[in-house]
């Protein structure tokens, strides 16, 4: 005889997929590892120290904020770890540790939790913190802070700064790029990451490996990265005087791969539909190219993404999918 216990009653569905927020964040962390190794390889062990400091402060801030706001502590979802790594990837390896800590605290406390926490932030926390650091410590965040890979020597310029300086000096992009001046790296060095720059942004190869992993795992789709990088390449080709070299140079230089694969695809701050994601990629690509070619500041990726983050609610509203059955009723 079966006993007459009362069984559990809930609304259907009664089974759930194995997908969890934690697993998604873990995938992102795994995807970021190649770029971290590249950063350590090119800029030394201090890259790792900066990353650890950033992660520790990000997670600790999340814990403290959730305690203060009397909300459940969710540091186990690993989202703060992701933010911490991304912030570290956006600063030079020479960055003072207290500056990194302040950036991490700002990212989590202000950009994330002041707006409701995970999923509710309207701009990418790591990029917001980078913008804050750039405004507060410009010298620590720009050219004089960047190391030449493999040395302790401070480099004079990042690849984009070198390119821009060449252009400002009246040289055409082509001559600047093909000239044997030591400040303009080769395409291969750019692709591998053997150039001056922030910890996680220089190696397009390492970032690409991470991106392929994320697409394979279904964490992101290729829509935003492809439209974003593609738009920058095409516009650079046109604005650079129809020079394919300039187009390729712009694709691999600066933070484009990091931004396009890991930051512009941030769930909370990017559109949800494919149509919206194409607009996101196009918009960020156009802004990046315009800033790089006409702006005073050589890097355009972070501000482009931040601007598109702010436009995301609007994009989502105008790209609502057409519901099934929204057809003319037959008489």
């Amino acid at each position: 005889m079966l006993d007459s216990t009362m069984f559990r009653v809930t609304s259907s569905p009664h089974i759930r997929s194995g997908e969890t927020t934690q697993r998604i964040m873990l995938d992102v962390i795994i995807a970021l590892l190649p770029a971290l190794f590249a950063g350590i390889y090119y800029f030394g062990i201090r890259s790792l120290i900066v990353t650890i400091v950033s992660v520790v402060f990000a997670v600790a801030t999340e814990f403290v904020m959730q305690k203060i706001m009397k909300r459940p502590v969710t540091i186990n979802d690993l989202s703060a770890v992701v933010t911490g790594i991304l912030l570290a990837f956006n600063v030079p390896s020479t960055a003072p540790l207290c500056m990194v800590a302040i950036g991490a605290i700002f990212a989590i406390a202000v950009a994330k939790h002041c707006f409701g926490g995970l999923g509710h932030n309207f701009i990418n926390p790591a990029l917001a913190a980078r913008a804050m650091l750039l405004a507060s410590w410009p010298v620590r965040m720009t050219s004089s802070a960047f190391l030449t890979p493999g040395t302790d020597a401070v480099s004079s310029a990042t690849p984009l700064a070198a390119l821009q300086a060449g252009m400002l000096n009246g040289m055409s992009g082509a001559t600047a790029a093909t000239a044997t001046a030591p400040t303009v790296p080769s395409i291969m060095d750019l692709f591998l990451g053997n150039v001056a720059g922030c910890i996680g942004e220089t190696s397009a190869l390492a970032l690409l490996i991470g991106g392929i992993y994320l697409v394979y795992r279904g964490v992101i789709t290729i829509t935003i990265p492809v439209t974003y990088i593609g738009t920058v390449a095409i516009l650079s080709f046109i604005l650079g005087g129809f020079n394919p070299y300039i187009a390729v140079y712009h694709m691999f230089a600066g933070g484009l791969f990091l931004g396009a694969i890991f930051m512009a695809t941030d769930y909370s701050t990017s559109p949800m539909t494919t149509k919206g994601q194409i607009i996101m990629g196009l918009g960020a690509g156009i802004l990046t190219a315009l800033i790089r070619f006409y702006g005073a500041y050589p890097e355009g990726v972070s501000y482009s993404i931040l601007l598109m983050n702010v436009a995301t609610p609007l994009i989502d509203r105008y790209t609502m999918p057409k519901k099934f059955g929204e057809v003319k009723r037959s008489a």
Binding site: F7, R8, S11, R16, T21, G119, M320, G325
Partner: protein, 445 residues
């Protein structure tokens, strides 16, 4: 076999979990001592009992007379004596009037149970009448009276009948086994439906994770020029009516509309087999195949069960519970209804009894929506479940309505896929109920 493979947009891939019963032939369940037959086993008005306590009834005898057009008669599944007519709990969650019959184990047939002739001699109206009198309702689980589907509103014409053999719900194998073991009845039922509606095109759609069913039905329909057996991609909710119509015909049922709006009538393969039985032997719908499965039951089986048999008896015939039982579900895991008691009868829409262990029944704690958009991608209706849900949770039902909450088919794909384990379809259901209530209120003003 030359079979097309079709599908729809969106959807998800829950584990099939059909291994336990998909190869098991249907076994006749033991006749129960007592049956409890609800007067409402269908969508629509309940039936009025036409027997009294103390009456002798026979197998196939009508015991409930439908009140109203959208309703369906109820027949006795056993012969014996009526011992009570009273409200009892059923799988819909409420109490409904039930006729309780003490089985005399004689299986004496009612005089009304005799062959109604052949398809060649029966007219369209006669077929519709047989379907109505035999208490046939949608056996996929929705239990909409079949004769109502066949009574087209004036001005509507249909040119296609589709039989739903997708059985996209995980765990369930009752339709699968029916198609493998009795494909002739399925094809015969389809031909009856096509004749009743005077249409010349019939489809039988079967998910391609059931190659044996596809082959059996394909062979049974080989000589029927007007019937096409199609394979459907194994994807949930492939058996949802509008998704099935789209897959087979490429037609989109308009929002808020019925299949007849695009010239189609859809029926379950089980319903078709019941129609075949009603015509050939005259036996009304008094039994059905029930898949009893899940980790929480000892010997999973496909049983042919008399309507009114209690879940308790059915589960006991399958060896009883195994381990700690957490949930007993009438139907499948995606859309089935969880039951707090096993003292409820099997009814016409009980396609399965799924028993989950305590471990499986535990629902994960929801966390913040991370806006990953997975629910948007899987929604077969192209809705934005996360937004409708958040409006619903804020009691902003007006906004939920604007976001097309009423178009939701409650398939549960969004809740299934959600990495933050949010109660998406639950909250959308709440919104739909509120919107319906408000619309009614507005109408009555």
């Amino acid at each position: 076999m030359n079979i097309r493979t079709l599908s729809f947009k969106g959807g998800t891939h829950p584990p099939h979990s059909k291994e336990a019963t998909e190869k098991l032939a249907v076994v006749k369940a033991k006749s129960p001592e007592v049956v409890v037959i609800p007067m409402q086993q269908h969508i629509g008005a309940p039936c009025e009992p036409i027997v009294k306590v103390g009456d002798e009834v026979k197998v196939g005898q009508k015991i409930g007379e439908p009140k109203g057009f959208v309703s369906s008669p109820v027949h006795s599944s056993v012969s014996g004596k009526v011992i009570a007519i009273e409200p009892r709990l059923y799988s819909g969650g409420a109490k409904v009037n039930c006729v309780v019959i003490q089985n005399d184990m004689q299986d004496t047939l009612s005089e009304t149970v005799k062959s109604k002739g052949s398809l060649e001699t029966l007219s369209a109206d006669e077929i519709k009448e047989i379907i109505k009198d035999s208490g046939i309702v949608g056996m996929g689980g929705a239990t909409f009276p079949t004769h109502v589907k066949l009574a087209l509103p004036p001005g509507k014409t249909v040119d296609t009948v589709i039989l739903n053999g997708a059985e996209c719900e995980p765990y369930l194998t009752s339709d699968h086994r029916l198609m493998v073991e009795n494909p002739q009845a399925v094809v015969y039922g389809l031909k009856a439906l096509m004749k009743a509606l005077n249409v010349s095109k019939g489809f039988i759609g079967i998910e391609n994770n059931k190659p044996d069913a596809l082959e059996a039905v394909y062979n049974a329909a080989k000589d029927e020029k007007s019937i096409e057996v199609v394979a459907l991609k194994t994807k949930y909710p492939q058996g949802a009516e509008k998704q099935l119509i789209y897959a087979c015909t490429g037609r989109e049922v308009p929002s808020g509309g019925l299949p007849a709006d695009v010239g189609v009538v859809v029926n379950n393969v089980g319903t078709a087999a019941a129609i075949a039985e009603a015509i050939n032997t005259g036996m009304p719908l008094v039994q059905r195949i029930v898949t009893v499965t899940g980790k929480g039951v000892k010997n999973p089986q496909n049983l042919l069960v008399k309507i009114g048999t209690s879940f308790r008896e059915v589960i006991e015939q399958c060896g009883g519970f195994s381990g700690n039982v957490g949930k007993v579900i009438a139907g499948g895991p995606m859309m089935g209804i969880a039951q707090y008691s096993v003292d409820i009868p099997v009814i016409k829409g009980t396609s399965g009894i799924l028993i989950l262990t305590e471990e499986e029944a535990k629902l994960p704690e929801p966390s913040n929506c991370i806006r990953c958009g997975k629910c948007v991608n899987v929604c077969p209706i192209n809705l934005m479940p996360l937004l409708i849900s958040s409006y619903s949770l804020l009691d902003r039902f007006d906004k939920a309505e604007e976001m097309n909450a009423m178009d939701c088919i409650e398939c549960g794909s969004c809740s299934f896929i959600c990495p933050a384990k949010r109660p998406l379809v639950d909250s959308i259901r709440v919104a739909k109920r509120e919107i319906t209530a408000q619309r009614k209120k507005a109408q009555s003003k």
